[in-house]
């Protein structure tokens, strides 16, 4: 398959934290969600993709080219929104338009105007007077206004209210209607990802726990609600994590491995993430 972004065995070591064996492959026409706790390594991974920090090992290729020797014009095809707004504080949106016109050869001022109108952003206000949500929207508008083929979004929706987040998801879905386009987005708002993503990659303590199709993932797991005694009957290999409460237990189980007649609820991405983390914590204790 043709991958727009591919990470192979990427690693990076800091004092007290290490990312290792990061393998991600993002096909064209898809959205991949990157989930994990704060400090799990999502932003570090994204920074390595953008070559803002050096990796210790492995390889990263974007559009089939090593990201360290990509010619400048290939960066035109990547739109990026970072977790912190990086717009200089004294600038207005109008001035940012002027700057971007001089940075991107493919800058589309009309499209930019369309997005900022759609997001209802004030033209002359300085960035330091923009709210976090406004800055996020502006960042998204910029990322979408130079005909990028790949969007990389680091917590790009986290400063926005549910209504706008929902609109953003629509915008992103629209973006990948073009089969050549892809999005890699990290977020801890898993419901957004569940709506938009084709693939989910879960990073936990610097390692990838899984990276697979969302539907596959949702089909694979189920939530079993039963009494504690009932749970003992079930094959241990089927149980990923257990949460005890007053009336019994909730367990995240692998559907195929559960034998017998049990009622299972659908597990969402958040359940899958939380139970996995819990399992890991109880193992450590």
């Amino acid at each position: 398959m043709d991958y727009i972004l591919e990470l192979k065995n990427v690693s990076k070591k800091y004092d007290g934290f290490a990312l290792s064996d990061i393998n991600i492959a993002l096909p064209k026409g898809c959205i991949m969600g990157l989930i994990g706790e704060n400090g799990a390594g999502k932003s570090t991974t994204i920074k390595m993709i953008l070559d803002a920090i050096n990796k210790d090992g492995g390889s990263i290729s974007i559009f089939g080219q090593d990201n360290r020797d990509m010619p400048k014009r290939m960066w035109e095809d990547i739109g990026v929104v970072l977790d912190e707004s990086c717009f200089p504080e004294n600038l207005s949106m109008k001035e940012i338009n002027t700057i971007m016109k001089n940075v991107y050869k493919q800058w589309d001022a009309d499209l930019f105007r369309k997005y900022v109108n759609y997001f209802d952003l004030p033209e002359k206000k300085a960035m330091k007077d923009y709210s976090r949500g406004m800055k996020m929207k502006l960042g998204i508008a910029v990322a979408l206004s130079h005909n990028a083929k790949l969007l990389i979004l680091d917590e790009a929706t986290s400063g926005l209210d549910p209504v706008v987040r929902d609109e953003m998801v629509e915008v992103f879905m629209d973006f990948i209607q073009d089969e050549e386009h892809s999005i890699l987005m990290s977020s801890h708002i898993t419901s957004d990802l569940e709506k938009a993503c084709d693939y989910i990659t879960f990073i936990h303590q610097g390692k990838i726990l899984f990276s697979q199709g969302k539907d596959e993932l949702l089909d694979k797991y189920g939530i079993l609600k039963c009494a504690e005694e009932e749970l003992r009957v079930i094959d241990e290999a089927a149980i990923v994590g257990v949460r005890k409460h007053k009336f019994g237990v909730d367990a995240l189980v692998i559907r195929d491995k559960v034998r017998g007649n049990f009622i299972m609820d659908r597990a969402d991405i958040e359940d899958i993430m939380l139970f996995q983390i819990k399992k890991d914590q109880s193992k450590e204790q």
Partner: protein
């Protein structure tokens, strides 16, 4: 790189207004004093330090990390800051020379020379400061920069002392071949500037954001 310089100029606009007010006040003082060199001195040094102000703005919002995700290379970012400094210095130099002319100084030639000399000091300061800024950032570089500032003052002060003490006599100063000295200074300045740029490029190519 054009985009980067435009970004810095727009971002420094407020400083520009401040600088404009300053220019008017000092120009007035200079006219009163009948001496343009003083005006030129302050203006040139302020302009030579504008890249530092621009960098502190960038640092505050982590601009560099964002810029690197655009079709902008690390070298562009470094060269952009040097270009900004030279550009502003050139504008200040022209303004100063014009001012000297307007002030109608009797020592027009002398003042022109001193203005150019101060421009040279500006380039030298910029060359020393920028690699340090790229290495440790504006916040940490503050003290080093104060030292860099004091150096020329100390040098002139020491020279003055030596003259006072009779170690250097005015006639000795008169014996210096000024054409040769000027040529030497210009070559040294260019060398310093190029070296500084190369060091900054090297530092920045390995920097993490």
């Amino acid at each position: 790189m054009r985009g980067l310089i435009i970004k810095d100029l727009l971002n420094l606009k407020k400083q520009g207004i401040f600088l404009g007010a300053f220019v008017i006040v000092y120009l007035f003082i200079s006219i009163q004093m009948g001496d343009g060199a003083f005006f030129a001195g302050v203006l040139l040094i302020m302009c030579a330090l504008m890249p530092m102000t621009a960098m502190s703005y960038d640092e505050r919002v982590k601009w560099d990390r964002y810029a690197l995700s655009m079709p902008i290379s690390r070298a562009d970012i470094v060269v952009g800051k040097y270009a900004l400094g030279i550009l502003l210095l050139a504008v200040a130099l022209v303004a100063s020379l014009l001012a000297t002319f307007v002030v109608g100084d009797i020592n027009f030639k002398d003042n022109m020379l001193s203005t150019i000399m101060i421009g040279g000091i500006g380039i030298a300061m910029m060359s020393v400061i920028l690699p340090i800024l790229f290495k440790v950032g504006v916040e940490k570089a503050r003290y080093v920069i104060i030292a860099v500032f004091t150096a020329p003052v100390l040098a002139i002060f020491t020279l003055g002392k030596l003259v006072d003490n009779g170690r250097i006599t005015i006639s000795q100063l008169g014996q210096i071949n000024y054409t040769l000295l000027a040529a030497g200074v210009i070559v040294a300045l260019i060398a310093l500037f190029v070296l500084s740029l190369l060091i900054s490029l090297k530092i920045y190519s390995r920097k993490e954001f």
